[in-house]
Structures are given as structure tokens and as C-alpha cells.
């Protein structure tokens, strides 16, 4: 414990010295979040410095092993780092699908050579990744995907199209599910490929959403050449990797359920926005709905904590990701609905492209229970795999 206190002390000092002042302000515009990669234009010199300094210590991925450039911290140390960052309102230095989704799958399934090649670049934010999963005809039924990779000796040739590829137009590389065998049951003919989005034959087309933003693309592959060394795991065994990665994606998306508007609870925000009567929210119906929401929000946060604690104590059920995805995203939708009610007509204001408004966040949140496997798919998984219901 003394060591942990020492670690906290050192971390606090280091952050004090190294976290630039502008990186300690709440996120205001989309450019405030640094995604890194070859084409990233830093919003400021301080944003660049903050990423560089954190990556230098491996603290973009605090718990990844040091041999690949990670922070090598224990869970307790990582928690302290998180607390100390929160204390000074330090921003996350890097947003990254490489960290939240691909990395864990590479650690489990990639060859040593692949790990050496890709993981350090993920940690340093050098390569921005996107996810090639869903297709126009493979949404909830993901395993029916039709994008094909044909064996041409020393390389594969990829043809097909993906949809809902987050930030594909800004990404450097893609981790992509492709069909490599059409003559076996659908789950058994899928492989997991990595390739450069700058390869000839790759094109992306942003999709405008109801929020007015275009975070997703349609991505088309026409005779894209992919070196064979970019296959992760065994040929035709990509579904296992796909599922493993999905559990991480679901936990990440489910984490939206833990988001609070800044450090204030919804009830506090409502009190300040709508005014009070004898110290209580004047609208008793709104107050009751906010309380119901906050009860679930707190219960959910405690459940996330319990799942982690149980896993650490070796008591975990290992079935948590669907629950977290389902509950977290449904909560985030309720939060956004209530934020709109709290804001009233003022909340309807539309953004100017720079800044995303409440109304746009509200509309964006509707996708949470669709992306990464719909709420209904999560209910199916829970019913069949956890509860053992037939059919």
C-alpha cells in the first residue's frame, strides 16, 4: 500500500508538470478529442505534446505490457492514474479503436511478429484503425457477411463492401472480416484481415445520420491486394476473433451508460436548469423520472464495478459484456431523453458543424442500442447463453 501511495504522489507530480493547461478543460468540440493517425491535424501544439508525453510512458494504454511500449501498470496503479487524471480534469490523450477493440484481440490471437509490428503503433497513436464488420446485408446476422478474400498465392484479393464503418474516411488501417470459404457453415468460413486503407481499390463514402453528423461510412473494396502476413489467427477461424473483439466493443459502448454530463448528476443539472421549489425540482413528474433513472444509473455503475471485482477474485461468470452493452446503451438513451426534457425548447438548437449540440447527442444516442449488436441481439445472447433457454 505504501508503494501505491508513492505511485499516487509521483503520478500527481508528473501530471502537474506534464499535462498542459488546455488539456485540463472539459471537451467542448469534436476536435478536442485526439484520434491520432497519419492524417491527424492536432488542434494545438499542446494536444500533440500531451499525446506524446503520455505515449512515452505507455500511459495511453496503462495496463498493456511494457515490452510493446505499454504502461505495465497493475490494476490498482491504473485506477490511481485514472483518479489523478480525473482530479485535474485531464483529457484522455488518445481516442482509439486500436486500444479499445483491436489491441486486446491482437494480444490473444496475433503472431509475435504481428504484435511487434502493430501494437507499439497503436500505443503511440501512429495508426488510426477502423472496423470492417457490418455489411449492407449482414447487420444483426453478422456471420452471413459476403465480402470475400481470394487466395492468390502470396496475397489475398478482397472484394465487397462494408457499412457503418466508423470514421473509415479518416482511418489509416482496417481490421476486417472476410469470407474465405463459401462451402462451409457460415461461421466457419470467416477470416480476420488487417490492411491499409490507402491500398488501391479502397473507397469510402460518409453516411449522413439523423444527427446531421457523418461518423459512419460505406466502405467499398475492389480487387484490394492484401499480403498474406496480414491474416490474424488461422484461415477460416476469424469468427472467434470477431466475437472476442465484439465483447470488448460492447463493453466500450456499454460504458456510455457511465457517462455523466460533466461531474454533475442529471438531477443537479435539472435543478440548476429548471429551478426549484423549496429546494426540490418543481416538476414532480420529471423529478420522479430522474430519480428512477439515477437509481438505475448508480445500480449499473456498481454492477460494472462488481463485474470487475468478481473477475479479479476469480468469481466472474464471464457473461457480462452483453449485459453491459444492453443496459449501458439503454440508460444512455434515457439520459439523453431526460436531458432534452430538462433543456426544453432550448435543447433543440442545431449545431454549426464545429460543436455538437444536445439535440445532436440525443439523436446520436439512438444508435447506441443498434451498433455493436442491437439490444435485441444482446437479449438473445443472454437468453440462450446465460439462461440456457432453448431454440
Amino acid at each position: 500500500m505504501a508503494n501505491l501511495e508513492e505511485f499516487r504522489h509521483q503520478t500527481r507530480e508528473w501530471l502537474e508538470e506534464n499535462c498542459p493547461a488546455s488539456m485540463r478543460r472539459p471537451i467542448k468540440s469534436d476536435k478536442d478529442q485526439c484520434w491520432g493517425g497519419r492524417n491527424w491535424v492536432f488542434e494545438s501544439e499542446e494536444q500533440r505534446l500531451w499525446l506524446e508525453r503520455m505515449a512515452e510512458r505507455g500511459w495511453t494504454t496503462p495496463q498493456w505490457p511494457t515490452e510493446y511500449g505499454g504502461g505495465g501498470l497493475s490494476r490498482e496503479e491504473a485506477k490511481i492514474l485514472q483518479q489523478e487524471m480525473a482530479r485535474v480534469v485531464a483529457r484522455r490523450p488518445l481516442e482509439s479503436f486500436g486500444i479499445d477493440m483491436l489491441g486486446p484481440a491482437l494480444f490473444k490471437f496475433a503472431s509475435e511478429e504481428q504484435k511487434q509490428r502493430f501494437i507499439p503503433e497503436i500505443i503511440r497513436g501512429k495508426i488510426r484503425w477502423c472496423q470492417g464488420y457490418s455489411e449492407p446485408n449482414a447487420g444483426s446476422d453478422l456471420a452471413s457477411l459476403q465480402t470475400r478474400a481470394e487466395d492468390r498465392g502470396d496475397h489475398y484479393v478482397v472484394n465487397g463492401s462494408k457499412v457503418w464503418t466508423s470514421h473509415a474516411d479518416e482511418a489509416d488501417w482496417i481490421f476486417c472480416l472476410v469470407r474465405t470459404d463459401f462451402d462451409v457453415p457460415k461461421h466457419q468460413g470467416i477470416s480476420f484481415l488487417l490492411f491499409d486503407m490507402a491500398s488501391p481499390g479502397v473507397s469510402t463514402n460518409p453516411i449522413k445520420l439523423i444527427s446531421g453528423n457523418s461518423p459512419f461510412c460505406e466502405t467499398v473494396f475492389e480487387n484490394v491486394k492484401v499480403p498474406k502476413e496480414n491474416l490474424v489467427g488461422e484461415l477460416n477461424e476469424g469468427w472467434d476473433i470477431a466475437k472476442y473483439l465484439l465483447t470488448h466493443e460492447r463493453e466500450m459502448i456499454g460504458g456510455f451508460g457511465l457517462l455523466r454530463a460533466g461531474s454533475k448528476s442529471l438531477g443537479q443539472t435539472a435543478l440548476e436548469t429548471c429551478g426549484d421549489k423549496d429546494g426540490q425540482l418543481a416538476d414532480s413528474g420529471l423529478r420522479a423520472d430522474i430519480a428512477a433513472f439515477e437509481i438505475d444509473e448508480m445500480g449499473f455503475a456498481l454492477t460494472v464495478e462488481r463485474v470487475v471485482d468478481e473477475a479479479r477474485a476469480g468469481q466472474g461468470t464471464g457473461a457480462a459484456s452483453s449485459l453491459l452493452k444492453l443496459y449501458g446503451t439503454e440508460l444512455n438513451k434515457i439520459r439523453n431523453e431526460l436531458m432534452m426534457s430538462v433543456g426544453g425548447s432550448k435543447a433543440l438548437a442545431w449545431g454549426d458543424g464545429e460543436r455538437t449540440t444536445l439535440a445532436q447527442h440525443w439523436l446520436r444516442s439512438k444508435g447506441n442500442s443498434i451498433e455493436g449488436g442491437t439490444s435485441e441481439i444482446q437479449l438473445n445472447i443472454i437468453a440462450k447463453r446465460i439462461l440456457g433457454l432453448p431454440g
Binding site: 430522474i290 438473445n380 433457454l389 431454440g391
Partner: protein
Amino acid sequence: MALVYNEEQQMLRDSAKSFIQESSPVSLLRELRDSGKEWSTELWSGMAEMGWTGITIPEDYGGLEFGYVGAGLIFEECGRTLATSPLLSSSMVCASLIADLGNDEQKQTLLPAIASGESIATLAVGESDRFDPSSVALTAVAEADGYVLDGKKLHVLDGGIANTLIVAATSAAGLSLLFVDRDADGVQIEATLNADNRNTATATFESLHVGADALLGEEGAAAPAVQKALDIGAALSAAELLGISQEAFERTLDYLKDRKQFGVPVGSFQALQHRAAQLFCELELCKSVVLKALQAIDEDAADRSLLASLAKAKMAKTARLAVNEAVQMHGGIGMTDEFDIGFFMKRAGAACQEYGDYYYHSERFAKLSGY
């Protein structure tokens, strides 16, 4: 503190489970009801032998001092078999009041008697049909060598079997607690049998004279200890509801896998699968909030009341869903008296109200959250 049970607590759960399934299966509740009895003194003696009646009482006063997280596991297991006893009102709520407020003599005489199960106490606080411990009209007027009590308490839990009442009264100095013997002159107790085959009582006090030694704690200073005791009541009642709900859910899952219609198990229908999966998620949240609230009581955390209300609110809402789904998914047989699932609905209905229902606790949660 990590949200997990340690080894000692897991061992307690195992022993609680095997004891209660052996000595108080759901069939015991049916037998008691059919023979017009409200509780089993034999079961009560068994609980006392297991040490449950003193599980949270300090060792110096004959208890095990095992803590409220451990007690929660006992209530969860009791919930699973719908075991009937005055464990919550006497050994938890009243024991906490006496341990917090009692003078040496009161602690030395009363706590060991409660820890051994020989004495059964209950807190008489509410005066309305809906739970509202803050409005106490019953008066305690000081006289030369004691107090005179006048007023009426409603829905006193286990009031039909308790030998000692701890009565909340408003005196000149504020909220005060006084011991009253159920057989004293001026006390009238009228027990009611409820849907869950448990009793609650209306206790009327008319010019009841009690001695100065009947006072528990300082006159007018009872409120903080009462609040804590009611937090304990709410959190452990939530633990009992967790057991009731999980058992009702598991019995329902078995039924869904077993019962065939249209040539297939009804559990293969998505309409039922999704509802079962949703309920599973709600129950997972309940496990977290119940454990957290009990840890907060053990640690005497600053947010103890908020967490107790969180636990009871979430659990009461989910328990209602769990038993409603249980009866609905069992179909017609779920409506029959012959089948046990209805007992779960009745007990859950009562336990949801004890120490405050969803509305009481969600309102209190909002208030304690500052809005």
C-alpha cells in the same frame, strides 16, 4: 471495498442455505398457513442455534458480530424459501437501536435476550397505512417518575408475537424511544393476518404509564439511531427480496424449459426469452446495490442512507417485476393455490412495503441527492 463476498461470508451463505432448505422449505409456509399458524417456534429456535438471532450483535452481549453483509446473505437465503421469522424486526432493527442508544444495563439485559432468541422486540413507529416514519403523533408526556404515552401505531411488524415494543414517541424534547411490555396495562394489541401469512399489529396506548428507565437513549435524541435502524431494515428487506426474486426467476426459467406448447418448450419463444433476459439484467443490478448498501452499513459510510434507499427502491421495483413475470409465465397453473409460485408473489408484495416501498425510497433518494 471490493464488491465481492469473502471466504467467510461465502461459507456463511452455504451453511445458511443448507439449514434453511432443510428446516424451512416453502412447504413449511404452506403447512403453517393451512394449520392457522403464523410462524414456527421450532424454526426460530433453530435460527437461534445457528447464531442468526445474534449475527450483528456485539460479542460482548452474546452475539457473533459478523456484520450486515453476512446478515444479508441469511436474509437472501430466507427469501428463497419464504422462511417466516421476526429476525429482521427483532434481531436487526431493534438490536441496532439498543446497541446504539441503550445504557449499560439495558444492553446487558436486553441484547443477550435478543441474541438468544428468547426475547422478541419490534419497533413501533409508523402511524399511517403507507410507510411514513417521520410523522409521529403519539405523545410521551413527562411525569414525576416516568412518562405517559398516548397514541396509536399501525402495521407494527411481528406485533402479534413480539413481547417487547420499542415505541417512537414525540415528547417535549423531540423524537424519543420507550420500551413497552406488550402485557402492560394501557396497551392494546390487535394483530392482523396478512396476505403473506405474517402478522402485523395495531398497538394502542391509552394513558400508559412507564417508568423513567423505559426511555431508550436521551429524550428527544432518537432520530439518528432510528434512521440508521430503518436503513438497516430497508437494506436487509432488500436482501430478502433479492432471494425471493431470484428463486421465483429460477423456478420460472425451469418451467420455461420444461413446459411444452405447440410442440416446443415455451422458453424457445422470443417473446418470453427477451423478457426473461431483461429480468436477468435487472437482478444483476439488484445484487450490486444490495451488497453495496450492506457494506455501507458495516462501514457506517456517510452515504449509508442514500445507498439503503437505492437498494430498497431498485429491489422493490425489480421484485414486483420478477413475481409478476413469474405468475404470468407460469400461465394458469401460476394462479392456483396448489402451486407454490403465488406464495412468492404474496411475500414479495408485503416485503416491498416493509421499511418503505419503491415510491418512498425513490423520493428519499432524490431528496438525499439534493434535488
